[in-house]
Structure formats: structure tokens, C-alpha cells
Amino acid sequence: MKYSIFSLAANALTGHKKWTPAWRDAAPKASYDAIIVGGGGHGLATAYYLAKEHGLTNIAVVEKGWIGSGNAGRNTTIIRSNYMLQGNIPFYEWSMKLWEGLEQDLNYNAMVSQRGVMNLYHTDAQRDGYARRGNAMRMNGVDAELLDKEGVRKIAPFLNFDDARFPIQGGIIQRRGGTARHDAVVWGYARAASDRGVDIIQNCEVTGFLREGGAIVGVQTSRGEIRAKKVGLAVAGNTSRLSQMAGLRLPIESHVLQAFVSEAIKPLIPGVITFGAGHFYISQSDKGGLVFGGDLDGYNSYAQRGNLPTVEDVAEGGMALMPMIGRVRLLRHWGGIMDMSQDGSPIIDKTPIDGLYLNAGWCYGGFKATPASGWCFAHQIARDEPHKVAAAYRLDRFATGHLIDEKGQGAQPNLH
């Protein structure tokens, strides 16, 4: 049933009794052309684009819990394409382009809100780094503006310009950046994929792979065997658990990243703001909650929760940057499990194992990548070749040294 103000009004008159399920809760069939493991944003987007762009409709998405139960449902909802390296910018900009038309494409309001993403700098070195980044963006046709202190003040007069330990010198802003309602992205892709015939199978955990002569020809699940010509993994956070079943060791560690939301208050913060002298970034949701976060806890973890040192570090950053939030109350904090790769950039590739495809290593950049990740992974699976904007995301780049390291931290995942 198409969503619009008219259908909404029409249904209101009939007591909303006519609305149908947003997606079919499918049971597994014996076999599919392709199975996507992982009913998060990336997996569902992959299935949607396989159906829409590549005409493959005999597709299943298998999810061990409820769709969106992983990082898709526990991130801080930021979308941006303000990257520095050529391996990344075209990909994230393609994602931004898809965001800009997503709701009309999916006929689902994901509340894509381009209120701007601003990163602050506090030293000349940081300014030069942002200048390099901003110029790289502009040379890729991406919007970026370098701001001086007054430029920042105009946008966010409430920041600490008075007694800061590390005074704000300026910032770089991507005005097209912003936020989107994370759950709605999951539900929108699920609904649109389901409408195109994709089977979305919840509460179906993959417990192993079906092999024939080394190649992977399907999956064993908590709901029985499902065969498929191609199996794609889109289970960021748990990639190693799955790849291990296939006998594959990866350049990935799982780490916990905490996220925070405050009580709902009237509008206080315009867009997304990122502190440059501490671990803190923040935005405000349409519901009114301040949504913020900081750095990884630093230790490997599969528990979706963190510990106090990071909570305090984030609070200190927040208070140092905007002392006006002192009496605003933290409502809830939780953790997501990040697929931290060894150079801080993702992997979209076929694996050395025939029939097995990999979409992983999203670190904490996964949400913003959702549309392009699905688009490019679908391309990789359908055409057996990388999509041009994801051409750098090869699995073998670590062995060859063609790294994509935005932060220059090298092979220590918890530093990216």
C-alpha cells in the first residue's frame, strides 16, 4: 500500500484497519539465487538493489534476530561524505546522492535531514589537515567549506569560546551532511525489497555453510538448510564469527562503540558538531533527544555495552565543548559492535572461497554508507566485479600495501 498523506487520511477514516504489513515475514525456501546474511541496513539495501538494479528477485535476507537489531538500530544516525582519501570519497559521495533521493525511491520517510556536519579544529595542524580534506572533497565535486572562528560562532554560538582548554580556531562543514532516522532506513529498505519479491527471514541464525568441492552453496540455519548460488555476508560486528565458519581469517577486530541519548528537549543544536580536541560529537533528533558519542572503549568486545571511562570521557568532551548541556540529563547509553578493519576502511569484495562474498570492516562509518554499500555489494554479487566507486575496497589490499588509512594509525584497529 503506497504511503502518502492521502492514504494516511483515507486510513484514518477507517480507523487504520486497512494497513498491511510493511514487509512479508517470510519462511525460508529450499533455495535462492542469492542469500544475504544479515538483516541490517546493508543487507536489506543489498537485497533491494539486487532486485531493483540487477533484476534478481529470488533473493533471501536471513536475520538471526529482528531486522535492524544490529548496528543499524544502535548508531548515531549521521550521514556525510567528508572523507579525505580517493579510495573513500567517491563511494561516500555516491551514498550521499542515494540518501538525497532515498525516501522517494523507497516511498518511506527516513527523515533524511541535511542540517550540516561541522568538524572543529583547534590547532593550525588540524586546520591544514581539514584544508587537505576539504580540497580533496571539492575536487570530487563534494561540498565543503572551511570556517574560521567567527564562521563557527555564527552556526553554533553556544560553543565554549570563553574559557576553553583547547580554544576553537575554526571548522570545516559539509552542509549536505546531516542525519537520518536509522530504524526507518531499515524498515524502508525491507518494505521496498519485500515488495520486489525478496524474502526477509527473521529469527533465522546462520550456523554454518554448505560446501561443495570447496565452494559455498548455501547456509545451515536455525531453521534448516538453505541453498544458494551465492552467499553474501553483511554482518558487520559479527563478520569474524561467520567467516570463521567458512575457515576465513580476516583483518578485522570487533570493538564496542558506545552511543548516548539525552531526554527530549526543545530544539537546541542545529546540525552535527564534532569536537576536535576531545572525543565528542553530537546532534539532536527530531524527537528532541541529544544524540552523541565519542571514541571506542578500546578493547575487543562482542557485548553491546561499554564501561564508565568512556562514558566519562564523552561527558567531559561534551561539557568542555558546550557547557550549556550540564543540566540536560543522559537518558540511555548502549554499545554497538564495530567491525574494525586494520586500516579503518571497509571491505566489499568476493572472498577466496567461491560463492562467498564479503561486505565488512565498516568501523564506525557503516550507517552513512548504507545505500552505497548495498548498491556496490549488489553489483559485486550480481556482476562478480567491483563497482567503480568501491574499487579500492579489496580484501587483498592489506597484503599488497594498498591501504586506505584516513587516520594514519596503521594496523591497530582500536586506533582508527
Binding site: S240, I252, S254, Y299, N300
Partner: protein, 91 residues
């Protein structure tokens, strides 16, 4: 998280710096396949959901590198030892 440092006793998480999974001994640089061995040593991980052997640095106290066995699902600390096998005696 509370980590029982073999020298300092049980201490809070914030005193330690985690380095991640222990990936075995540094390979022999003169080996014929040294590059492949170093690639495995530097980049590849088991990344288990369960007991994991990790290197942690107690930088703000005894400055010792520790080998910590820890469950990545529960954060339970299973065992802690000095990374330097030549350290005896103390605690």
C-alpha cells in the same frame, strides 16, 4: 572492568591501554616467506566471540605489558600474566 595486575593488584580499566589480540611471536624476518608471515602476524585476527588472549599495557602504574585472557562476550577476566617471561618473583 577491573584487571588484576600481577604487580599492582586489581585496578580499574582506565589505567590500562589495550593493544588487541596476541597474534603469536614476531616472525623470522629472514624466512623465505617472511612477507607473508609478517602479513599474517600484523593483520589477521581470530577475533573470537569468547575467550581471547590480548596484550594490555599498564602504562599509568607499573608500565608492564600484560597478557590478559578475557571473554569478549562477558568481559570476564580469566587470567593475567606478565608478557615478559623473564619477570619472576613479584606478586
Amino acid at each position: 572492568m577491573r584487571i588484576p595486575c600481577p604487580f599492582c593488584g586489581e585496578r580499574d580499566l582506565h589505567e590500562f591501554t589495550p593493544r588487541g589480540e596476541v597474534t603469536g611471536a614476531r616472525p623470522d624476518p629472514s624466512a623465505a616467506d617472511a612477507e607473508a608471515q609478517f602479513f599474517t602476524y600484523v593483520y589477521l585476527r581470530d577475533n573470537p566471540a569468547g575467550p581471547n588472549r590480548e596484550h594490555w599495557y599498564h602504562g599509568s602504574a607499573c608500565r608492564r605489558w600484560l597478557v590478559v585472557d578475557r571473554d569478549t562476550r562477558t568481559h570476564e577476566i580469566i587470567a593475567v600474566a606478565f608478557a615478559d617471561p623473564s619477570i619472576g618473583g613479584a606478586a
